[in-house]
């Protein structure tokens, strides 16, 4: 049977959907805005280099370089002495009699 006066469809579900999408968009925008601000302020990001601590790092790098030069110099001097021993030993071994006896 054909309805002469069909019922009007409710627009409420559509309204809810629109509200939900809007809420999601607002949340994303809020999240992005908040995160950007945090990064810029350096509050949340502990690894951010501040102008105040940059010279400290440079100073530390310099100290490390100086220590490393000193350590390498020491190692090099030790190697030099050990090398002298190696060369002396080679000479001493070669001077030893290594010929079979006449038997």
């Amino acid at each position: 049977m054909v309805e002469l006066y069909p019922r009007k469809k409710s627009k409420k579900p559509m309204l809810f959907l629109v509200l939900f999408v809007a809420l999601v968009i607002v949340s994303i925008v809020y999240y992005l805005t908040h995160n950007k601000n945090s990064s810029e302020s350096g509050v949340d990001n502990l690894e951010t280099v501040t102008p105040e601590n940059q010279p400290d790092d440079e100073e530390e790098a310099t100290v490390n370089s100086v220590d490393q030069i000193e350590q390498t110099l020491k190692d090099s001097q030790d190697s030099f002495s050990a090398l002298e021993d190696d060369l002396k030993n080679i000479e001493v071994y070669q001077a030893e009699n290594d010929s079979a006896p006449s038997i």
Binding site: E58, I69, E70, L73, F80, L87, N89, Y93, P101
Partner: protein, 270 residues
């Protein structure tokens, strides 16, 4: 005359003993002593003046001399075994010293392992010969094994110089790598000091000197490494040339390292 007179009989017997038997026994003792002396003299003449010396106290050379002079087979064998024992002992002591040198060297552990295995193989080979000699009682067999201690191992003339050379190459290679790694850091340090107003001319010159000497070290290291690793115990003539060439290259590298130490000290004092 003596019949019926016991006292006279006793007197007669006593006089007989005194006059005849005592001198005879004295002469007999002297004869025995003379015979013993002559026997000892004969023995000493046949086995040399060291015949009475305990062979186990002799050095290798003394034991060989004893072997050459000994008359009896047993003493000859004993002398040969003593000489072999001394040859083995001195070589094992050298190999132990090499082991300690490898262990103490500031080189890569992989290289340490390779060298330690080489030394251990020599120790095993010499110990095997020692055991064979001590269990052998044929003079010719003992002699041939004594010759092998020298001909197959060549501890002094080839093996020990080769191992020492390889330790030196590894040591130099390690320190050259450290100095190479240090170059950029020296550069940054000099730049920083220059920016801070320090005169870095001597430092720049030292850095340039380090670079030149490093090149000398690396070139010499290549030669030394080629020569020492090419040494084999089977070709003694070539081995001697390689040892000589390798040693010469090491001396050159050592001198370059000495120069680098002076340059590093300059930079260190800036």
């Amino acid at each position: 005359m003596l019949k019926n007179n016991p006292t006279k009989i006793i007197n007669f017997v006593s006089v007989f003993f005194l006059v005849f038997l005592i001198p005879v026994s004295v002469y007999a003792e002297e004869d025995m002593a003379e015979a013993e002396r002559q026997a000892a003299e004969k023995n000493a003449t046949s086995s040399g003046s060291a015949a009475l010396i305990d062979i186990s106290t002799l050095s290798a050379d003394q034991a060989i001399a004893e072997y050459n002079q000994s008359g009896t087979g047993d003493r000859k064998i004993e002398a040969l075994k003593q000489a072999a024992k001394k040859y083995v002992e001195s070589r094992l002591a050298t190999l132990e010293a090499l082991k300690s040198a490898i262990e103490a060297a500031n080189i890569e552990s992989a290289k340490k392992n390779v060298l330690s295995v080489e030394v251990q193989n020599r120790v095993s080979a010499i110990n095997l010969l020692r055991e064979e000699i001590q269990n052998q009682n044929e003079i010719d067999q003992i002699k041939s094994r004594i010759r092998l201690i020298f001909s197959e191992n060549k501890i002094y003339s080839i093996f020990a110089p080769k191992i020492r050379g390889e330790i030196a190459v590894a040591r130099l290679s390690s320190i050259a790598g450290k100095i190479e790694d240090l170059k950029p850091k020296i550069n940054s340090l000099l730049l920083e000091k220059k920016n801070a107003g320090v005169d870095t001319t001597s430092g720049q010159s030292a850095l340039s000197g380090i670079e030149n000497q490093l090149k000398t070290i690396n070139d010499s290291l290549r030669i030394a490494n080629d020569r020492f690793s090419a040494i084999t115990l089977t070709n003694a003539t070539a081995a001697k040339i390689y040892i000589s060439d390798g040693r010469e290259a090491l001396i050159k590298a050592k001198n370059a390292l000495g120069e680098i130490n002076k340059y590093l000290a300059v930079i260190n004092n800036l």
